[in-house]
């Protein structure tokens, strides 16, 4: 399944509807569905915030491959933003020093089995892989 979404935070409602359709069609378990929704929200939001140079739509592709779900977010005509080094968070800090910056990417990486980043032809593609509960 594939769909394009306007590059704004308010598109998230439609992104979630698209994901619900995928979860239902591909028979994705609730725990994996939650994890995928969270990771997609975090990376989609990141693309809106940190790649504002392009107002091209963000494409989301989702498919099930055996016992894994793969979801790709494609952001065209942007500068590279490699997420593989992002999301380092010190979760041991006391309340006063805890920050939210980076938390979304940190959580996404913890919840996904793999997060890969490719950049080619001014297009960023983040691919999320989640092994499904059987």
């Amino acid at each position: 399944m594939e769909r394009k979404f306007s590059k704004t935070i308010s598109s998230l409602d439609d992104v979630f509807l698209f994901l619900e359709e995928f979860f239902s069609t591909a028979n994705i378990d609730p725990g994996s569905a939650y994890a995928i929704s969270l990771a997609v929200e975090e990376f989609f939001t990141n693309m809106v915030k940190y790649s504002p140079e392009s107002n091209r739509d963000i494409t989301v592709r989702a498919r099930r491959n055996g016992d894994a779900a793969l979801v790709a977010l494609v952001d065209e005509d942007v500068e590279p933003y490699d997420v593989s080094g992002a999301g380092t968070v010190d979760t041991t800090l006391p309340l006063e020093e805890r920050k939210v910056g980076g938390l979304g990417i940190f959580l996404s990486k913890e919840l996904m089995d793999d997060v890969s980043y490719e950049y080619a032809g001014r297009t960023s593609t983040i691919t999320l892989t989640k092994k499904l509960e059987t």
């Binding site: 979630f16 609730p30 969270l38 968070v89 940190f106 913890e110």
Partner: protein, 97 residues
């Protein structure tokens, strides 16, 4: 759908999906809290880092005056997110019964 309300006992009730599109709505209620409160997650299906951030900011503000939020009735998936983020050490969490 997302709802944040305060019941007659002063308990904050969260319902639906607390994502990045709902943060401003949440602050309309959270910013009015000035003392310790329980936050009931019973009807909350989903929370992302945006929702965690709003709760963290509120907890920090309350903590400065010796108050705190106590979180109750989380579903398993939300509880896992709090555990992974280690937010279970910055919030008092009452386990669901």
């Amino acid at each position: 759908m997302f709802l944040v309300t305060i019941d007659p006992n002063g308990e904050i009730l969260l319902a639906g999906r607390f994502d990045a599109t709902r943060v401003e709505e949440a602050y309309l209620v959270l910013d009015k809290i000035a003392e310790s409160r329980r936050v009931n997650f019973k009807d909350l299906d989903y929370i992302s880092s945006a929702g965690l951030g709003a709760l963290l900011k509120t907890q920090k503000r309350l903590s400065a005056s010796g108050h705190e939020l106590t979180l109750t009735n989380m579903n398993k998936m939300i509880r896992d997110v709090f555990r992974i983020a280690r937010f279970d050490v910055v919030f008092k969490i009452e386990e669901a019964v």
